[in-house]
């Protein structure tokens, strides 16, 4: 009696609604493109072709997606525990400190496949540590995690400026970044996989951390739905009272969930640093932590959805860059507007079209609006 409107079948819930949201976002974006005097259809073609048309584009799309998978998973893990971690940006940024130190120390002595695991641990540990303090404050003092994680984003930015103009920078250099990592801290590219399918790639930064992201997506699924810890997190996320009743410690579960979330956010730093630029530079995260929020929402907090949503956002980044290049009237800022519209419709207004879809379903086939497709003949 508590659900006013009946449920939709799963395929509509997870497939149709995101597609509708996305379509509306693109229609509105199309109007914006028209407003600056360009042809929205041509713009759409450039965008999609830029992202998927050539092997080069695909590699870039997946490269961007890699970072978003990590940040999306980070948001999702916290969300399953009822926590809104918007500190992924800072947790990822500060992880660059760990990565920088590890890479500078080991790139001349170890091969990449030894440096990489150490860097993974360092990145995850830094991210987790950065999430630990807000988590502790939430669990013990009741300071709201949204506020504290935002503040920690700023603190992380300041710490990184300090580190990058200080001890991480080679003494002779003017640029606020580390020296270029040697071979021992450069991740192998994955472009050859795409080339296997016959596409040609000049140079693209897609690297092995994409595989790490996919592994993490699987591990997150395992954690949330198949482990005792995930069960406890979900219980607390749905009902803190039920968790208390079940003997789940509030402090413990908040701290653990946030540290896992922070660790995943930390790992997103591996891709742009060791995978692409081969250094740690100022602002290398550049908003990927926030994109993770939209990715997680659009992916309905499920790892499979998150991987798909991350690829979509990767496409917007890559195709958007092409678009800005091909259509002079469309600037970088316009691309940001389009991305913003997708975030708005897919994330913030996620439920806007749901009631209409439900009403539609109810009127065309009332029996399908239930837990599963109806069996047996109609009455």
């Amino acid at each position: 009696m508590s659900t006013p409107y009946a449920k939709l079948p799963a395929w509509a819930d997870y497939g149709l609604i995101p597609v509708i949201n996305l379509a509306v976002a693109f229609v509105v974006a199309g109007f914006v493109v028209m407003l600056v005097g360009e042809n929205p259809f041509r713009a759409a073609v450039i965008l999609v072709e830029g992202a998927f048309g050539k092997g080069q584009g695909i590699a870039f799309t997946l490269f961007y997606a890699t970072t978003f998978i990590f940040s999306g998973l980070s948001v999702a893990v916290a969300a399953h525990c009822g926590l809104f971690n918007i500190g992924g940006e800072g947790q990822g940024y500060i992880a660059g400190l760990g990565i920088g130190i590890v890479c500078l120390a080991f790139d001349s002595v170890l091969p990449w496949w030894l440096t990489f695991p150490i860097a993974i641990i360092a990145a995850a540990a830094m991210g987790a540590l950065w999430a630990l303090i807000p988590a502790y404050l939430q669990a013990k003092r009741g300071s709201h995690i949204v506020i504290t994680t935002i503040m920690f984003n700023f603190i992380a930015a300041s710490v990184m400026v300090y580190a990058l103009v200080g001890f991480l920078k080679p003494p002779s250099s003017m640029a606020p970044q580390t020296r270029t990592f040697l071979d021992g801290a450069q991740l192998p590219k994955l472009n050859w996989v795409i080339e296997l399918f016959g596409a040609k790639i000049r140079s693209a930064p897609l690297n092995i951390s994409f595989l790490l992201a996919l592994v993490m997506a699987f591990l997150v699924w395992l954690l949330i739905w198949r482990t005792r810890l995930g069960y406890e997190m979900r219980t607390y996320g749905h009902s803190p009272k039920a968790a208390r009743y079940a003997g789940i410690s509030e402090t413990r579960i908040i701290i653990i969930a946030m540290m896992i979330s922070g660790a995943l956010a930390g790992m997103m730093a591996l891709n742009p640093t060791m995978g692409d630029q081969h250094n740690v530079a100022l602002d290398f995260v550049s908003g990927a932590g926030f994109v993770g929020i939209a990715v997680a929402l659009m992916g309905r907090l499920h790892p499979v959805g998150i991987v798909l949503a991350a690829i979509l956002f990767g496409m917007l980044y890559q195709g958007g860059a092409e678009l800005a290049f091909e259509m002079p009237a469309i600037s970088r800022d316009m691309i940001v507007i389009i991305q913003g519209l997708v975030i708005l419709f897919a994330g913030a207004l996620e439920h806007m079209f749901r009631p209409y879809v439900q009403a539609l379903f109810a009127s065309i086939s009332p029996r399908s609006v239930g837990i599963e497709a109806a069996k047996g003949k109609g009455a």
């Binding site: 069960y231 406890e232 979900r234 208390r244 009743y245 837990i371 009455a379």
Partner: protein
């Protein structure tokens, strides 16, 4: 010639494989109170939800006042003069009564006119139907009985001629329930039509004119209330004879299992809710705590089960103390053999968004039976859930179904099955049969007595006097946080009623 306010003709509704309503025909005569009874999951709420536009029937016809009606949303229902009072109130807690009543029915942007109009209209309704409630009171400060009145007012304000109430008395004290019935009679006298869903057959006998019985999605009978009996209705509902009072032998009480001494508990505002209470429960007995809701029973249960901090006093489980500082681990208490069926199954005892099988391990999720290392043993959990579903006849028998989609009574069985099947030494139960049908009440009572006979100590808190009297070997009456009397199971209802109302012990004994 009596005129039909509502006719339902050939209504069908399925949820997946579950046929919640099949070929339902029902005629509700204008100006009567029409009761609907049926087992948990019989489809009563579903039928009313179809009438109120929450769900669409798969097939069938609804006629209101003789004319075919298409009811697609609650707004359509309201326009046709149908109002509904939900079991879980749909009020804005920090709004006033008046604001809640006009919510959604405002007629001008600045509200000044609406408010003035609503106030006079509200006053008229209150006078006419005996629905007194202060229009300027804030909802969250009102007791549930009055909140319910606001729901009724809301419906009447929108011009309801037909009022549907789904289990309205589940949350009310007996006095509040009596008042509600007086209001419903007034409504009837004024020519309104009332549809009342309830599990309490006594209420059906007391107030309805006609009663319809549902079983497994079908309408099995409609009777004139004065020509039927509680026994007949129970039998029609369940399809077999039901024991309305379960037989039980003498208790063979053993050693003390749970000892409560000088326990004092305050609520979050610092009000003393449990005031210096002491009692023992021994192995092999059922101790019942009677009392009007809100006299500290909930806080008592929470303190004993380690969920709420106690101010002073002690609780010993098998001779060893329970941590009352608020840092107690309910998980550890479970290991020590204390099981707890909480009063609030929706927010405490269950996670409604979980699948049934996930709820069947809540609190026991660290039991090695359900684990393979750090992983959940999904097969073990589901098999275990299926066993409980069979044993406790939980319907529908689908352990993958979301818990929110089970009917209220079946949700209660999920919690009871989980706690009883752990074979605890001490079982504390809050409102064991709230919202549960007669057949299931019989079943639950039998299980509780069986546990007693196996030498378990059972503490039952219930606002249902019948339940307390038929289950308990000893009855403690709570009033204003204190135990004001102890009686044997032979105590009369009148005697307990006086104690519950706080009338001095000595007087009550006379």
């Amino acid at each position: 010639m009596a005129q039909a306010a509502i006719e339902l003709i050939g209504i069908n509704k399925s949820f997946g494989a579950v046929r919640a309503n099949r070929d339902i025909n029902l005629e509700i005569v204008r100006g009567t109170i029409h009761g609907i009874v049926g087992e948990n999951g019989a489809g009563k709420s579903t039928l009313m939800s179809i009438l109120y536009g929450f769900y669409q029937a798969d097939s069938g016809e609804i006629r209101v006042g003789g004319k075919p009606a298409s009811i697609k949303t609650p707004n359509d229902a309201i326009a046709l003069g149908i109002g509904m009072v939900h079991q879980h109130f749909m009020l804005v807690d920090n709004f006033t009564v008046l604001e809640n009543v006009i919510l959604g029915a405002e007629s001008d942007a600045l509200l000044t006119k609406s408010i003035a109009k609503a106030r006079s209209e509200l006053e008229r309704l209150e006078r006419e139907y005996g629905l007194e409630v202060d229009p300027d009171a804030i909802i969250e400060e009102l007791p549930v009985g009055l909140q319910q009145r606001v729901e009724i007012l809301k419906a009447l304000y929108r011009g309801a001629e037909i009022l549907i109430l789904d289990e309205p008395t589940g949350v009310l004290t007996p006095a509040e329930a009596d008042h509600l019935f007086r209001i419903l009679k007034q409504l009837k006298e004024q020519g309104k039509t009332v549809v009342l869903i309830t599990h309490k057959l006594r209420e059906i006998m007391a107030i309805t004119d006609t009663v319809s019985v549902m079983r497994q999605g079908t309408m099995v009978a409609t009777r004139e209330t004065r020509k039927t009996t509680v026994e007949e209705l129970a039998e029609l509902m369940v399809g077999r004879r039901v024991l309305l009072r379960v037989e039980k032998g003498e208790a063979e009480a053993g050693g003390v299992k749970l000892a409560v001494k000088n326990l004092t508990v305050k609520d979050s505002r610092g009000v003393t809710m449990v005031d210096d209470i002491s009692f023992d429960i021994r192995a092999g007995e059922i101790v019942g705590i009677a009392g009007v809701a809100g006299n500290g029973q909930s806080e008592l249960l929470e303190a004993i089960s380690g969920i709420r901090r106690a101010v002073s006093g002690s609780v010993m489980l098998d001779g060893k103390p329970i941590d009352l500082t608020g840092a107690a681990d309910p998980g550890e208490l479970r290991d020590r053999g204390l099981a707890h069926v909480p009063e609030d199954r929706h927010h405490v005892g269950l996670v409604l968004a979980f699948e049934e099988n996930e709820n069947s391990i809540l609190g026991y999720h660290d039991d090695p039976r359900y684990l393979k290392g750090p992983f959940l043993d999904i097969d073990a959990i589901r098999n275990d859930a299926r066993d409980k579903i069979t044993k406790y006849d939980i319907r529908p028998a689908d352990c993958r179904l979301k818990t929110a989609n089970f009917s209220g009574g079946n949700q209660q069985k999920i919690v009871l099955a989980r706690e009883m099947e752990q074979d605890p030494g001490v079982l504390i139960v809050g409102q064991p049969t709230r919202g549960v049908d007669v057949g299931a009440i019989e079943f639950i009572h039998k299980r509780l007595i069986a546990m007693r006979d196996q030498g378990k100590a059972v503490l039952v808190v219930s606002v249902e006097l019948d339940e307390i009297r038929s289950l308990s070997d000893r009855i403690l009456v709570m009033f204003a946080g204190r135990i004001v009397g102890e009686r044997g199971p032979e105590a009369t209802e009148g005697e307990l009623g006086l104690l519950m109302a706080g009338v001095e012990q000595r007087e009550a004994a006379e």
